[in-house]
């Protein structure tokens, strides 16, 4: 009964990956890749994206999880609304944000003009702003999910710990420092690792917002591989992924270790 999955795994994971690695065997592909100025820029973008987007997202998720654990009926309703970005498909909302950022007709610059009487920035036509906005889109979409995970972590902390620290006269900062954080630190760190892996594979936030532009300056590794496919340079696309593997595989290994430790 295990055969159907083994078959799927062999045909759609093992064979493609082996074939892909075989395609990526020519040293020439890597020379061409490293000579491509777009590649260098992409690596920098990817590192910035991972460091900034993941950490900002988790700082916010940590803060918001503290807000959402308050026991109020209206906060439970707010949490139902808060999950919408995660519940809806990516394209509609990313396209919506894309038009909101349109310099001439978008709602953001229109409000900007009404408030300051100045023209707003050309959001997606500037590489730095464009990448920043892609990170904003990524955070908008993924924040609810990680907030929920951290809420689950906070709710698992025994209430007595908080009651005892109240009796001892602890301030809310001390409660966070000595009760909350030690209890959810492991959860927070492994969530960050998992989120880094998934963020590395986030194609939509960049591709659907900027398309990698202007002038291919906002690509990340996930979109660059696909760009090479569209240019019919599959060897190059595979080489891009092989270059990323030394960074991805340790993270994957860490997560798998973590899972088997929990069994």
């Amino acid at each position: 009964m295990i055969a159907p999955y083994v078959l799927v795994f062999l045909v759609f994971v093992v064979y493609p990956v082996t074939y892909g690695l075989w395609l990526a065997r020519h040293p020439q592909s890597y020379v061409t890749l490293f000579d491509d100025p777009v590649f260098f820029r992409t690596v920098v973008n990817t590192i910035v994206f991972l460091m900034v987007a993941v950490n900002v997202k988790f700082a916010l998720a940590l803060f918001l999880s503290g807000f959402f654990v308050h026991d109020r009926a209206w906060i439970r309703w707010l949490s139902v609304i808060f999950i919408i970005p995660w519940a809806v498909p990516a394209i509609p909302t990313i396209f919506s944000i894309r038009f909101m950022l349109n310099p001439e007709w978008g709602i953001i610059n229109s409000v900007w003009f009404r408030l300051t009487a100045l023209d707003g920035p050309n959001w997606l036509n500037d590489p730095t702003l464009g990448l920043t906005m892609a990170m904003v889109v990524h955070i908008w979409k993924a924040l609810p999910f990680w907030t929920l995970i951290l809420i689950a972590g906070r709710l698992a902390i025994p209430r007595e710990l908080y009651e005892a620290s109240s009796v001892d006269g602890a301030t809310s900062w001390q409660k966070f420092k000595y009760v909350t954080w030690p209890s959810i630190r492991t959860l927070y760190l492994s969530s960050t690792i998992l989120s880094m892996i998934w963020t590395l594979g986030d194609f939509n936030s960049v591709y659907l917002l900027t398309g990698g532009g202007p002038a291919d300056l906002t690509h990340v590794l996930a979109t660059l591989g696909i760009r090479y496919i569209r240019l019919d340079q599959v060897d190059q696309a595979m080489a891009t992924i092989v270059v990323a593997l030394p960074f991805v595989l340790p993270l994957v290994y860490f997560m798998m270790k973590r899972l088997s430790a929990n069994e």
Binding site: P4, V88, P89, M100
Partner: protein, 278 residues
């Protein structure tokens, strides 16, 4: 007074959350009930709200919408096929690993998890190449099989966890009564697993309906693409009809959102909580 201040502080956090979450959603809704002129004027509410955009979409009265019904049908067909096939594969695998304790079960589980943790955008490149060799490019089956590959690992993991929790006495009692493994599967296992099966079927279905990257790589004919790729085509030119795009996008987003909320209790957590809790 102190209590009042604390409540005020909560509301001060709540308002930005509400704005941040709802603005892009409201913007979709705003465009879908606006005429083109009104949409492009940057107004926060149209002077003359209209449902005309939806009529245009349903009657396919625009170049980008000529295949609207066909594409929504493709989306549905692909999502249902992925849901059914994933459910079949994952249930069999979870039963074999968890209840029959087949040899190599652990290795298979690890292989599945490895696939789950590899970023999907990275697997897309070799997958595209392989589908080419199999001659499946531009057939809806290529997307169905690719999505089954992506959905199965999580499905197997969740079903295995759920199935580990079923009492062993049931299996023993069934065996003593002379039940074959297949009878055990059909008469004992499936009925007990029903809630998890519904959740996993929904998960796979939504994953397939929402997918963009694989759909756009593997399918390119106007009449095989799902609606997700059809929406992407709107941006092919500079003067895109954004009000129609947003009306179509709203129609596309509503069914999965409704399903998500209906099954919300099952949808969050699962593997992730299992994976990250210390």
């Amino acid at each position: 007074m102190n209590k009042f201040l604390r409540e005020a502080k909560l509301w001060l956090i709540a308002i930005p959350i509400l704005l941040w979450t709802l603005l892009p959603i409201y913007h979709i809704f705003l465009f879908s009930i606006s005429s083109k002129d009104s949409a492009f004027s940057g107004a926060l509410w149209p002077d003359h709200p209209t449902l005309r955009n939806f009529g245009t979409v349903f009657r396919q009265e625009h170049f980008y919408l000529h295949h609207f019904w066909e594409q929504i049908w493709n989306s549905l067909w692909i999502a249902v096929a992925v849901g059914v096939i994933t459910l079949f594969i994952a249930t069999c695998a979870a039963f074999a690993i968890s209840r029959l304790k087949v040899r190599g079960g652990r290795t298979v589980m690890n292989a599945a998890l490895f696939t789950y943790f590899i970023p999907a955008a990275f697997l897309a490149v070799p997958m595209y190449k392989a589908m080419g060799t199999y001659g499946l490019l531009n057939s809806r089956w290529s997307l169905v099989l690719a999505m089954v590959t992506l959905a199965s690992p999580y499905a197997i993991w969740v079903l295995k966890q759920a199935s580990d929790k079923l009492p062993w006495e049931l299996d023993e009692a069934a065996r003593i009564d002379g039940a074959t493994p297949l009878q055990l599967f059909r008469l004992v296992y499936l009925p007990l697993m029903m809630p998890s099966l519904v959740a996993i079927g929904t998960y796979a279905l939504l994953l397939a309906w929402n997918e963009y990257l694989y759909a756009f790589l593997l399918l390119s004919h106007e009449n095989t693409i799902p609606l997700a790729v059809g929406l992407g085509h709107f941006l092919a030119s500079d003067d895109s009809p954004w009000e129609l795009l947003m009306a179509t996008a709203l129609i596309y987003a509503l069914p999965p959102a409704a399903i998500y909320y209906a099954f919300r209790r099952y949808m969050v957590g699962g593997l992730t909580v299992g994976a990250v809790k210390g």
